[in-house]
């Protein structure tokens, strides 16, 4: 089977827009968490989210064409444009029918769906703006990318919450391997959504309800997630059909596993993640010694310990020798974009020879005793990165990326 290479990336994150700013932000241990100004939080015990400020899509696109689009779509368009430019991929130079799109998104469009409905409830069903209706379908962001750039190959959207980005990548690789496309535009996006924030708040998932309001993975003070948003897009190409593209990395192994446990609780034993990692390693006959770094999905909850224990289970004594870090202290929990942002961080590790830090570390948790990279980046050569993803719906993923 052809190797699948990443030949371009575009990032729109709370710590930086564009790959350089994003990587620089990680290196500087920057945090994208800020006080919410998007809506009134005066009645709430928490005030923060990791959202994107200074996002100006009209810098890249005709404002007239952006008028009816929702935030999820604009974030995705922006990231897509950056990725296409980064890969030096001009749609006019290639056959647009052989380019496909596969995007993971779950939560973002809820805002648009609900807004359209409330407009109708308040103003009457005959007075809603019909131009807002397309925003209510979840495949709208990916389809707008197709429309904006004139891409006529397969266009797909995947919703699997935390795993969405990786499921979208897996879907894209399937299309490449089965000759439905030559190049795939893939990624994940979830925009900040007020209802989701409030629901997470009431369900007790947010940091600040039982402790300090910050995301501090693996720290003893961890007490919940900081909700975040982001969009991240990659260009995938098959080795046999590579243009003269820059090769950031190739996807060595990718294994997902839904483990039926609960709709809102992590499986304390982390059985799904363990099996996903083991499958990813075994399938491609990867030596555990060859993993130079584990990019964790720890989000400052009980998951941090679950993942720590799974790493110990899978790697045995070796677990203590592999550096581990989570960027969710910096970018928050971005749901469908989280996998893609981790992948973007990994490309930075390859390019700039560093491990992004887990920020906000202060108090040691004796149960979390791996070689975490805390607060400051670690500079070293990295060849293979293992990226984990675990969601509280039962979704698990493991992606192994090679230089």
């Amino acid at each position: 089977m052809d190797k699948i290479f990443i030949t371009g990336l575009g990032v729109v994150s709370s710590i930086g827009i564009g790959k350089k700013d994003f990587w620089q932000g990680l290196k500087e241990a920057k945090s994208g968490v800020k006080d919410i100004t998007l809506f009134d939080t005066s009645n709430l015990k928490v005030k923060k989210a990791s959202y994107i400020e200074n996002f100006k899509p009209e810098d890249l696109f005709d404002p007239k064409k952006l008028r009816t689009l929702d935030r999820t779509t604009k974030l995705l368009l922006y990231a897509s444009k950056l990725a296409l430019d980064d890969a030096d991929l001009n749609i006019e130079d290639v056959n647009p029918k052989r380019i496909g799109i596969s995007i993971g998104t779950t939560l973002g469009s809820i805002w648009s769906i609900s807004k359209f409905d409330r407009d109708a409830l308040i103003d009457g069903p005959h007075f809603v703006n019909p131009a807002d209706f397309p925003n209510t379908v979840i495949n709208s962001p990916a389809s707008e990318v197709a429309i904006f750039f004139g891409i006529t190959g397969p266009c797909s959207t995947i919703s699997s919450a935390f795993s969405s980005s990786f499921d979208a990548i897996k879907y894209a690789i399937n299309l490449l391997n089965n000759n439905h496309a030559d190049i795939m535009i893939v990624g994940g996006v979830d925009a900040f959504c007020e209802q989701v924030y409030l629901s997470l708040y009431r369900a007790g998932f947010l940091a600040g309800l039982k402790g300090q309001e910050l995301s501090c993975p693996f720290d003893k003070r961890r007490n919940g997630i900081i909700y975040g948003e982001g969009a991240c897009v990659f260009i995938l190409e098959k080795e046999s059909l590579l243009r003269n593209s820059k090769k950031y990395a190739y996807i060595k192994s990718l294994e997902g596993l839904f483990f039926p446990f609960s709709i809102t609780k992590y499986d304390r034993e982390g059985r799904g993640l363990k099996e996903a990692i083991e499958r990813a390693i075994i399938k491609e006959k990867i030596l555990k010694e060859d993993i130079s770094y584990i990019l964790s999905c720890a989000n400052s909850t009980e998951l941090d310990l679950i993942e720590t224990n799974v790493i110990k289970d899978v790697f045995g004594k070796l677990a203590y020798k592999i550096p581990v870090s989570s960027i969710k202290g910096s970018v928050g929990e971005t749901f469908s974009a989280s996998g893609a942002l981790n992948l973007a961080a990994s490309l930075g590790s390859f390019e700039l020879d560093f491990i992004p830090p887990t920020i906000n570390f202060l108090e040691k948790d004796s149960f979390c005793d791996l070689d975490y990279v805390f607060n400051k980046p670690r500079f070293c050569k990295i060849n293979n990165i293992l990226i984990n993803s675990v969601g509280f719906n039962g979704d698990n993923f493991c992606l192994i990326l090679s230089k």
Binding site: P96, K97, G100, I101, T106, L107, I110, I113, S114, F116, D117, R118, A120, L121, P125, H126, V128, P130, F133, P134, T136, V137, I138, N139, S143, E144, I147, G150, T152, G153, P154, C155, S156, T157, S159, S160, A161, S163, S164, N174, N178, H180, Q195, V196, L198, S199, R202, A203, G204, F205, G256, L257, P260, F261, S262, I263, T264, N393, G394, D395
Partner: protein
């Protein structure tokens, strides 16, 4: 060596019948599932009709505790999955020994839950948002709920490519079985009758005031429907080993994107999609015996679809029966193409083609054979299932009569 992929179980919940037998009987008898909308108040709308499923009782398929924790789209998805499992005649315990993928297509996801919240919000303000919102309202929950209900470990995703989504699920499932990544696929689609969708289509002036008449010159638009269907896919090898009844073989699929407009379909995009499907399935246009049309009954869709069929099948296009069962069911959105796929499987299995009902006046712009009003008996070796969606996300799946060797 790639696996051959076959369909071994069918489950369907529709406005014209629950279970594949009732459903197909109603289809070939041209029964309409359209009635006055009851699930919400339509007094402020000038359109009143839709294809609601009136006799679905979720408690036939799950506990009352489960029903309280999920929206109707998930309930329909679990219902049609249960029906498909019974139809295949395999026990859950046996099934769980295998690698399973649960893939569900949808347009609106759990919009009913969002609609409930919106009503509260408008009345009392957003601070009343329910803590269960994230665990009940997000689209990914359709497949998650199916996975949790049956305790299926494996691949579990929702493909929300709107009204083509059911076909997308079958397509991906086909590749997963063909490439031996899983043993069984639950490829489904599910959508509950949604106020938001009703408002939207109404506002796009796409909705008919009474009946849905695909390909008729005087067609007045689509009607909204709801439902769910599941196809269980497996490799031929496994189907033989476990002695399954084989309804049809999946031969391949094609996808394309119009990249044209969010709500207006393009004939070029859908023609490309059918060509991609024929190429992927390695069959010639003249081998096609039946096309299950997207056929929504809107002026634009049917005209474009007919012209795309012409451009792909050339001289042959008038000889292929092309029917739209949306004439009976309305447009069940993300479930539409999975329900139509069940219809295609039964058409190749039973050699009967369901009609396009409500057809009166021929339209020179849609001069295909739309199987007007009466089902026909015909050997169906190859059936194509067309489905297009908002965003120009086009899909076409190819089914073949199963033959050994």
């Amino acid at each position: 060596m790639k696996n051959r992929v076959v369909v071994i179980g069918l489950g369907v919940i529709s406005s014209i019948g629950i279970g594949k037998d009732d459903f197909f009987d109603a289809l070939i008898n041209g029964k309409s599932g359209i009635s006055k909308v009851e699930s919400f108040d339509v007094s402020s709308f000038d359109r009143k009709y839709g294809g609601e499923v009136k006799n679905f009782n979720p408690l036939d398929f799950m506990t009352s505790k489960e029903t309280k924790n999920m929206g109707r789209a998930s309930q329909l998805a679990i219902g049609s999955s249960s029906l498909a499992i019974s139809d295949a005649g395999i026990s859950l315990d046996e099934l769980k020994k295998y690698r399973i993928a649960v893939l569900f297509g949808t347009t609106m996801g759990e919009a009913n839950i969002i609609e409930l919240l919106d009503k509260e919000w408008v009345k009392k303000g957003i601070n009343y948002v329910d803590k269960f919102f994230v665990s009940r309202a997000t689209a990914n929950l359709l497949s998650v709920n199916v996975g949790l209900h049956f305790k299926f470990k494996g691949i579990n995703i929702v493909i929300p490519t709107a009204c083509a989504a059911g076909n997308y699920a079958i397509s991906y499932g086909y590749d997963l079985v063909r490439n031996n990544e899983v043993d069984f696929v639950f490829a489904g689609g599910s959508d509950a009758f949604s106020r938001i969708a009703f408002i939207g289509f109404n506002r796009l002036y796409a909705m008919s005031p009474d009946i849905c008449q695909p390909f008729d010159k005087n067609r007045k638009g689509m009607l909204l429907g709801e439902g769910s269907a599941v196809l269980i896919l497996s490799s031929l090898e496994l189907a033989k080993k476990l002695n399954f009844k084989i309804y049809a073989e999946v031969l391949g699929y094609g996808l394309s994107c119009d990249a044209h407009h969010m709500t207006i379909p393009s004939p070029t995009g859908i023609a490309d999609c059918m060509r991609n499907a024929l190429k992927n399935a390695d069959i010639k246009p003249e081998e096609v015996d039946y096309i299950s049309a997207h056929g929504t009954g809107t002026l634009q869709n049917d005209k474009n679809e007919a012209s795309a069929i012409k451009s792909v099948f050339l001289d042959y296009y008038k000889k292929i029966p092309v029917s739209s069962i949306k004439s009976m069911l309305g447009h069940c959105m993300g479930a539409a193409s999975s329900i139509e796929a069940v219809s295609c499987c039964l058409a190749v299995y039973k050699d009967i083609i369901p009609p396009t009902i409500n057809y009166k006046t021929p339209d020179p712009e849609c001069d295909i054979d739309c199987v007007p009003n009466q089902a026909i008996r015909k050997t169906v070796n190859i059936a194509l299932n067309n489905a297009y969606a908002f965003g120009g996300n086009n899909s076409c799946v190819v089914f073949k009569k199963f033959k050994n060797g």
